[in-house]
């Protein structure tokens, strides 16, 4: 009994000494270790890449990337700026890529006369590009079948 009391006391004491040190090291605010008086680290300003030819896919199911800027494009219930060039009715005149026919099916597999609601908001899958470097090294390579030779 006596031994147990002593060991508990030792644990409590040790914890009291170690925990504050550990705690201090672990807690870090979102702005990093920058002191409150110092200026925060400003993220680098990235600009959208200018218009270019369509970008190759890296894997078969990849939603194609947007090879142009889309600043100020209105995509809401009343109008979808992307579809004014990429819809089946407009792609020829606009010389744009037409949207895939998968975009007309809803989640029950029913095919609609127009783009299904779940596929209507383009930037959920398709994104424009900045010249951002990968955050971690990556050795991924697309399969030969979709690589241009």
């Amino acid at each position: 009994m006596k031994r147990r009391v002593i060991s508990v006391l030792i644990c409590v004491l040790a914890g009291g000494l170690v925990l504050p040190v550990l705690g201090k090291a672990e807690v870090q605010s979102l702005r990093g270790a920058t002191p409150i008086e110092g200026g925060a680290v400003e993220p680098e300003v990235q600009t959208w890449q200018p218009d270019r030819e369509p970008i190759d896919r890296d894997f078969v199911q990849q939603p194609p990337l947007i090879p142009h800027q889309i600043d100020g494009y209105q995509v809401n219930l009343k109008f979808n700026k992307c579809l004014s060039c990429h819809s089946w009715a407009n792609y020829k005149q606009a010389k744009a890529t037409k949207i895939s026919q998968t975009h007309f099916s809803d989640r029950d597999g029913d095919v609609h006369a127009n783009v299904a609601a779940r596929r209507y908001f383009c930037t959920q899958c398709h994104v424009p590009q900045v010249d951002a470097k990968p955050l971690v090294e990556n050795t991924f390579k697309p399969v030969e079948a979709i690589t241009a030779h």
Binding site: P50, D51, R52, E53, H68, Q69, D71, G72, Q74, N76, L77, K78, F79, N80, K81, L83, S84, S87, W88, A89, N90, A94, K95, F104, D110, V111, H112, A113, N114, V115, A116, A117, Y120
Partner: protein, 188 residues
Amino acid sequence: MAIKRSVIALLFIGFIAGILFWGGFNAAMEMTNNEAFCITCHEMKENVYAEYRTTIHYANRTGVRATCPDCHVPREWTHKMVRKIQASNELWHKMMGTIDTREKFEAHRLELAQNVWRTMKRTDSRECRNCHDFGSMDYTKQGRRGRTQHEEGLAAGKTCIDCHKGIAHQLPNMGEMDPSVIVGEGQK
């Protein structure tokens, strides 16, 4: 002699009154022809102005800004007077409260937009061309898409508003004009 003097006095008074009247007229014209005046109406401030503030005509990399009258009031005197007289109709609807709530504005958005598009089509987008002129436009400095579209557009005799709709304000429901640009609703 007395008659001659009174004629001169009359001419002088007329001259001064003319200056005052013309000066006052121009001052009133200028006063009602700037953005600060346009957004004294909440209909403008809370709808079209708020939308315009997010677009390239409000803020851009070069710092050139087009304000309301730059696009919506002609610069040339006669056309400007015609537009100013038409504006009396807008005052009437302001009094009637035709678009005094967001809901009423949305209900009229298509009609209002079509009025502007019709005018711009008729005038060959005259107000756009105060700044954007085909003659001083260098296609080689444009992007892949813009270059092709501008070359084809010029050749086909199109005018700015034919393609550049909804660049400074939100578009109304465009499904009526092009059913392929809106979401499919239940129609299977």
